[in-house]
């Protein structure tokens, strides 16, 4: 049975960052990834630089993946899911199901970091917004992928550049009707950065941003938001419906607060800024690990100021599985989890190989 110091569940940006943090201290790490490759949602994002870097962090993901793949202390198991965890801190036994060969494998490990991530909100749960029923309604993640793969912004229906585009914020976030009573923290940033990129690719592009509150925390973002206000139209209202008319034009209906009534406006492309929801298998994973699944599906921490801690000694949380986080936040959170794990591991065994500057 292979032995390791640390098993990291999930190979997204948080998982790889946590793995690297422990590997720098020369501990042996296994990353268990259920998908065919590591990278998670972060690897699907596009660079949003225009004439200046917009600090979206998309490039950082690729860098970290390279580092993880070439790190001698880190082994990666893809297409593999955690089936069972027994034992206790310092002596966990993890049974894994490798779907490639449909075979069970086992790992012994001293510590576990859970970095199982999130899922983007499924916009079909808001049928009035026309996702999957109107070709030119896309999600923020769809647009990320489109830009990443083609380098351009085009309407899915005919491949032509849009001339009027609407970004609708808070799709699946801050929405008590669907039980998502939280802000996803990433959508304002990615939407404005992508809108800015779209405008730099298509200088004539007319952009409207439908929003409740723009979340401007973070260095430099406030200044960027001010420049956005000069070239984009900000409408403080969340549309009630998006309907496709004959010519593939999209009719967006919203309350114009200045006029005090519902108005209709036509766009030729609509981007839904979908938020983050807990991963589908989060509850199962919580049961397997014996940790608290949390009230809204993001893993809960028993001690309010220590967001890495779980109810089980030797198991820590990293990244968006604990609550919505952007790339920067996930990295910081994962480094903190790595510190907890390293601190625990070093109390058991110090590694003698010397660090190279």
């Amino acid at each position: 049975m292979p032995e390791s110091d640390l098993v990291v569940i999930g190979g997204g940006i948080a998982g790889v960052t946590a793995a690297l943090g422990a590997a720098e201290s020369a501990y042996s790490v296994y990353i268990v990834e259920k998908n065919a490759d590591i990278g998670g949602h972060g690897a699907r994002l596009c660079c949003k630089a225009t004439d200046a870097c917009r600090q979206c962090g998309a490039c950082v993901v690729a860098d970290k993946l390279d580092q993880v793949r070439s790190n001698p202390h880190i082994s990666i198991l893809t297409n593999t899911e955690v089936e069972q965890v027994s034992g206790s801190a310092g002596d966990f036994h993890v049974s894994l199901l490798c779907r490639d060969i449909n075979e069970k494998t086992f790992l012994d490990t001293a510590a576990v970091i859970v970095a199982s991530g999130f899922e983007p909100f499924d916009a079909r749960h808001k049928p009035q917004l026309g996702y999957r029923t109107s070709a030119n309604v896309v999600t923020g993640l769809d647009l990320e992928e489109q830009i990443r793969l083609t380098g351009s912004v085009a309407r899915p229906s005919d491949g032509r550049p849009p001339s009027r585009i609407a970004f609708i914020q808070c799709v699946g976030s801050r929405d008590a009707h669907i039980g998502n009573d939280y802000c996803s923290r990433v959508c304002c940033k990615y939407a404005l950065r992508m809108a800015g990129l779209a405008q730099s690719l298509l200088p004539e592009l007319d952009v409207a941003v439908f929003y409740m509150d723009i979340q401007i925390a973070g260095k430099g973002f406030h200044e960027f938001y001010q420049t956005c206000r000069e070239t984009m139209r900000f409408v403080r209202s969340i549309p009630v419906s998006v309907r496709e008319s004959d010519s593939e034009a999209l009719e967006v209906q919203y309350e114009d607060s200045a006029k005090g009534r519902l108005v209709r406006e036509t766009f030729d492309m609509v981007v839904l800024s979908v938020g983050m929801v807990p991963a589908r298998d989060a509850t199962d994973l919580a049961t397997i690990l014996g940790i608290d699944a949390g009230s809204c599906g993001f893993f809960a921490n028993p001690e309010p100021t220590d967001t890495n801690r779980t109810a089980v000694e030797g198991i820590w949380l990293a990244g968006a599985c604990q609550g919505p986080k952007d790339i920067e936040g996930s990295i910081a959170h994962a480094r903190a989890a790595a510190m907890d794990a390293v601190s625990f591991l070093s109390s058991r065994r110090n590694i003698l190989s010397e660090p190279l500057l």
Partner: protein, 438 residues
């Protein structure tokens, strides 16, 4: 120092260099306390410097923390207690850093405490000097009716402590938050928490005027909903700044909330009558933080905050190896983030010093002393403080020298040297190699 070396490639050797495992943490607030505690768990001895007479920092001036049910007092006090009982931490209060020489692995620091100068050596330094709230307010209205958020926090502490203070709370209170800089998100969150606190402790009417409500943090959406359901009135301003004028009885604040507009041309202009106006001050790096930036020769950003080396790859590292940041000094205000960052800083220190020695590539960059005119261009242009000037017996400057343990081999000095006296010796970067590849 060196009894082990091995040639990696042309002229570059690996040398084993000892590093001091004592760590200096500057600042005894939440971030500094947490960093020190985590470092001791990793087996380090820590000197913790605090300019005030006792540790705790600016969090102690807050009446409560948003998003957290625990009292801010308790959060800090438990850590102060843990630090006091920890033999691996030496706490120096009323102390400030006045001199730093040396380099990563071997910093020599001078600490001033009660008129005495203490000399100390350490392998790494963590800056956790926090942030400070200015008292200065934009000049609107009468000073006794206009206070800062910081002053409001003080009054709320009084309010929590005694019943009689509650009746003294003005009956109409208006809090204004404006979108500016990194601190607007913090003031939005603290305005909501304080508005809710006032509502719960008194019968006052509370109005919050802001451009955007910040809900991008743990528990903030709940806080927003709770504040609204408890009767806090929130106006969202757009194109017009709030106008304040004095009235016979108090202040009148005119705001424009377009969601209050109605058909028939009413623009949504609303006049709020209040007897206390709370305006946002600016959050800044405190004075001792600014002097520390000079002392340590570390970078700051355009707003004066300590500048991390790279926001993703090296979020708690400075431009100088061995000097790290944690917490409010970078403009952070979220307690969860600050605590995570403190752990991150402890991990970086550990990965740097854990072995007590490091293998350092020596000779990647070399100065040809015969060409060096000691013009100091390299010394000034090096972002990592990795250049020193060699002095001969008579005290004359001889030549520049690369401090290998601090050098990042970025090549800036190579490009800047007017005499072409500095070369990168790693294979593909020598002049002749570059000439070939061009």
């Amino acid at each position: 120092m060196n009894h082990y070396s091995k040639t990696v490639n042309s002229g570059v050797r690996l040398e084993r260099i000892s590093v001091n495992k004592r760590v200096l943490v500057v600042g005894g607030g939440m971030a500094g306390l947490e960093t020190a505690l985590k470092l001791t768990r990793l087996g380090y001895e820590v000197t913790l410097l605090e300019t005030a007479e006792s540790p705790g920092g600016s969090i102690l001036s807050l009446s409560s923390l948003y998003g957290l049910s625990g009292e801010s007092d308790l959060l800090v006090q438990s850590r102060i207690e843990a630090i006091k009982q920890n033999p691996a931490v030496r706490v120096l209060t009323g102390a400030r850093l006045v001199g730093v020489t040396g380099t990563v692995g071997d910093f020599r620091v001078e600490i001033e405490q009660a008129g005495q100068t203490i000399e100390n050596r350490c392998g790494a330094i963590v800056v956790a000097t926090g942030l400070e709230f200015g008292e200065e307010l934009p000049g609107t209205g009468s000073p006794e009716k206009t206070i800062s958020h910081k002053e409001l926090e003080r009054r709320l502490v009084d309010l929590q402590q005694s019943e009689t203070n509650r009746s003294r709370m003005p009956s109409n209170i208006c809090l204004i938050v404006e979108d500016e800089g990194v601190d607007s998100a913090m003031f939005s969150a603290s305005a909501l928490k304080n508005a809710l606190a006032i509502k719960r402790l008194s019968k006052s009417s509370v109005f919050v005027c802001c451009d955007n409500v910040n809900v991008a943090g743990s528990g903030l959406e709940e806080l927003y909903r709770e504040a609204r359901s408890e009767g806090v009135v929130i106006f969202r301003l757009e194109d017009m700044r709030p106008q304040v004028r004095e009235t016979r009885t108090g202040l009148a604040v005119t705001v424009k909330d377009s969601s209050a507009a109605a058909p028939g041309g009413w623009q949504g202009l609303i006049e709020i009558e209040c007897d206390l106006l709370v305006l946002p001050e600016r959050a800044t790096v405190p004075a001792d933080g600014v002097s520390l930036q000079h002392l340590l020769n570390v970078s700051c950003d355009s707003d004066g905050w300590f500048q991390e080396n790279n926001v993703w790859a090296k979020p708690v590292e400075s431009n100088r190896r061995g000097i790290f940041f944690a917490g409010g000094c970078r403009g952070n205000f979220d307690v969860e983030d600050i605590l995570a960052e403190a752990k991150g800083a402890a991990l970086e220190v550990h990965n740097l010093l854990r072995h007590g020695k490091r293998l350092v590539p020596v000779g990647r960059v070399a100065v040809d002393a015969s060409k060096c005119a000691v013009c100091l261009t390299c010394l000034r242009s090096c972002p990592h403080d990795a250049i020193e000037i060699l002095v001969d017996d008579k005290g004359h400057n001889k030549a520049a020298r690369i401090i290998d343990i601090a050098c990042e081999a970025c090549g800036i000095c190579v490009a800047q040297c007017p005499a072409n006296a500095i070369q990168m010796l790693a294979d593909q970067f020598r002049d002749q190699d570059v000439a070939v590849s061009v």
